[in-house]
Every structure is written in C-alpha cells, then in structure tokens.
C-alpha cells in the first residue's frame, strides 16, 4: 500500500510537471528532451481535463506499433504551428504488455520518443487499452488513435488508425474551431 501511494504521488508529481511543461509550450521546444512519465488512465484523463481552455490533440501510440511510428513525422509537422499558437499535443504511449514492466515500458517509450524527436509531453500509460478507454470514455481500438478536443473540452473528432498529414491538419482545424 505504501509503495502504491508513493508511486501514485510520483505519478501525480509527474503529471503536474507535464502540465507545467505543456502550459509553457510555445512551439520552440524542439531542442527540449521530451517530457515523459508513467501515468494511470485516470492521470491521462486528468491531464486532458486540466488542459481545457486550449485546443488539444491526444495521440495514442506505442513503440511496437508500426503505423504509429509511421505517422509521427506527420503529427509533428502538422502540429508545429498549432502548438506555437497555444494548442496542446499529448502523446499517450501504450507500452505495457504482459511481459513488459512499467520501467521497461517507460524506457521503450523514452527511447522511441527521442529517436522520433517528439517534443511534446508523453505519458506512458500503466493500464491497458480496455481499462484506459473506459476511463477516457472513448472506444479506442487498434493503435494509433488520435482524439481532438476543442477549447471547451468537448471531443470534436476521433481518428482511429494511422492519419495522414492532411488528416492531422483537419484535426487541428476542428480542435481550434
């Protein structure tokens, strides 16, 4: 129990750090090491809720997911000016599998984020997709999945599967509308 509480506190601290990081995002973070932390599904939902007021894209991905990696350059490029205008992008890495520990999952996501040059916050979800979608309230299926929220916090689009640059641009447009 004590270790669970300590872990929860560490996660909450990480979520706060990420919030601060994201709130300061000005699009010039390309040289910044991607901020990445373990998070329960509730932490992911809280992060999303806490960023109401700004348009937001949430991208669910994993280092083992080929189409996820393939779409990342388009996600990065398509959201650069969006982020410069105050839009937020959150990556949620679904790394943890039956044989992948939290530490291993965090490391896998960190390494992949570095290689991809991801310069927006990353949460490595410690729960599986089914548990996570229950908490988030969206029927997430096969990775990747991208959600667009507007400033009021309403989900305005759910894009299942790999998105193209044009589709990311459309998600940005919908989030900013």
């Amino acid at each position: 129990m004590a270790s669970d509480r300590a872990r929860g506190t560490r996660r909450a601290a990480a979520a706060l750090l990420l919030s601060a990081f994201a709130a300061c995002g000005d699009g010039s973070a390309a040289a910044v090491e991607p901020t990445i932390a373990l998070a329960r599904a509730e932490d992911v939902a809280r992060w999303i809720a806490d960023h109401r007021g700004a348009p937001l894209l949430v991208n669910f991905w994993a280092s083992w997911c080929v189409p996820c990696l393939a779409e990342m350059p388009d996600l990065l490029a398509s959201t650069r000016s969006f982020r410069a205008r105050g839009g937020q992008v959150l990556g949620v890495a679904m790394e943890l599998m039956v044989e992948v520990s939290e530490a291993k999952g965090l490391e896998l996501a960190r390494q992949q984020a570095r290689e991809l040059g991801l310069d927006f916050p990353q949460l490595v979800c410690t729960e599986d997709m089914i548990a996570t979608r229950r908490v988030i309230g969206v029927e997430l299926g096969a990775l990747p999945q991208t959600l667009a929220y507007d400033r009021t916090g309403a989900l305005v689009q759910h894009h299942p599967g790999k998105a193209t640059a044009a589709q990311f641009a459309e998600l940005v447009q919908l989030a900013e509308r």
Binding site: A45, I48, A49, E139, A142, L143, H158
Partner: protein, 250 residues
Amino acid sequence: MNTMTRLSVLSLSCLPLFAQAPPATPAPAPAPAAAPKEQPAQPKVLQLGQRASGDITLLDIDGKPQRAKDLMGKVTVVNFYSIQCPVQAGWDQRLAAIQKDFEAQGVVFLHIDSNESEIGREPQQAAEGQPKPYDNVRAHLAKKGLPFHVFVDHGNKVADLFGAETTPHVYVFGNDGRLVYRGLVDDDQRDKNADGRKNYLRDTLASLLKGDKVEPFATTAVGCSIKRVESADAAPRRRPRGDAGGRDGK
C-alpha cells in the same frame, strides 16, 4: 444487397467468400429529383447476424486447403492472428485454453494471418529441399506451444470481408452460419483480473453449445492493426463526434 453490390463483393474477394442472407425484395423507389452524385464503391463487410455461405477455400501454413463449407453446421471461431503483435501475445494462452476446452465439444477454431509483413505478398509454395512455407509462423507456434491452426490471407481479402481491424479480432459463428459475436476475447488484456473479467468469447461459446439464443453483439477490439497490402484508394476512416464525452471522460 443488390446484384451490383454483390458482384462488387465477389470481385473484391476473388472468391465467393460470404454470401449475404437473401435480400428482401426492395420496394420500388420513387424517381429521384436529381441524379445522385456517384459515390465510390465501398467494400461490404459481413454484418452481425448475417450468414456465412462457406464458399471459400482457405490455405493453411502447410498449403493444405480447407473448404469453409466443410465447417458448416458447427460453431466456428475465426480469429485474426499475428505472430508479431504483443497484444495478441497477451491473449495467446487464454485463447489456447478456450480452444482446448471448446474444441473438445466440437467447436472449430480458425486463426487467420492477414499481415503482409508476416506472410509475404504472394503465397509460398512447398519445394523439396527447402524449408516449409511459412516457417516463421510454424516456428512461432512451436516456440509458444500454441495449438492454433493458422491460415494465410494474402491480399487481406478475408480480413476486408470480415471488416477485421486488429489482431486479435475474434468472430463467432453459430451452427447456422450466422455471425453472433465480433470483438475481444475478453476485457482483461493483460491478464490482471481473472475473477472480474468479462469472458466474451468463452461465454458466447458456452451459450451457443447450450442451445441458448444469442443476440448478435460486438465489442470494440484492441490490438495491433492488421498490416494490409497498401491500397492507394484506401478510404480514410473516421469516427464521428458523439462516441464519447468531453475532457472529463464522461
């Protein structure tokens, strides 16, 4: 389904994979005020409650054909499978246990690998002095001790007709050939909730074998996307607003 649509399904599949239930005679439609804008043909997929005809021959990894028609009359599970997907791997042992329990009661299990990245673009032929075809699949099953009878789906024609998106993605047919369930094996992806999990596949099979009426239902599958052959005209998929709440996750 009208004749033209049916033909488009058949041409897509190259094989008459699934015949839909006989279409109801359409009521005469009023003449449209203006010619409708021509829409690109959308591939039709097997729907819940529809019957599979079995007019297909599947090839297993030994190159042996299996006529789906020969399976008619039996409760059948079709799972879209991957040897590389870590999500599939998380369900492998539980799926194998379900298979063991229900094969003994006459249920047929077919695992279909539609991933071009695993089976290649073209069918592999057995040749003397050469490794057996699909040796990677065979080696994976042997290493994991999995009793799965795997079939190959080059060009992902079967996956397209099923509308399969992920591995795993489970389909259950009753002994009347109708699709009664599509989706998850269970809701416990990482095997952490044995007491509380919803055993969609196991419970559906048990109900069918008991002779209970099973209302067709689906769950949203999770897993790795099927690595389909690249299609230049692949239609973008989009889920409309309204399938979830806002940022409070309600």
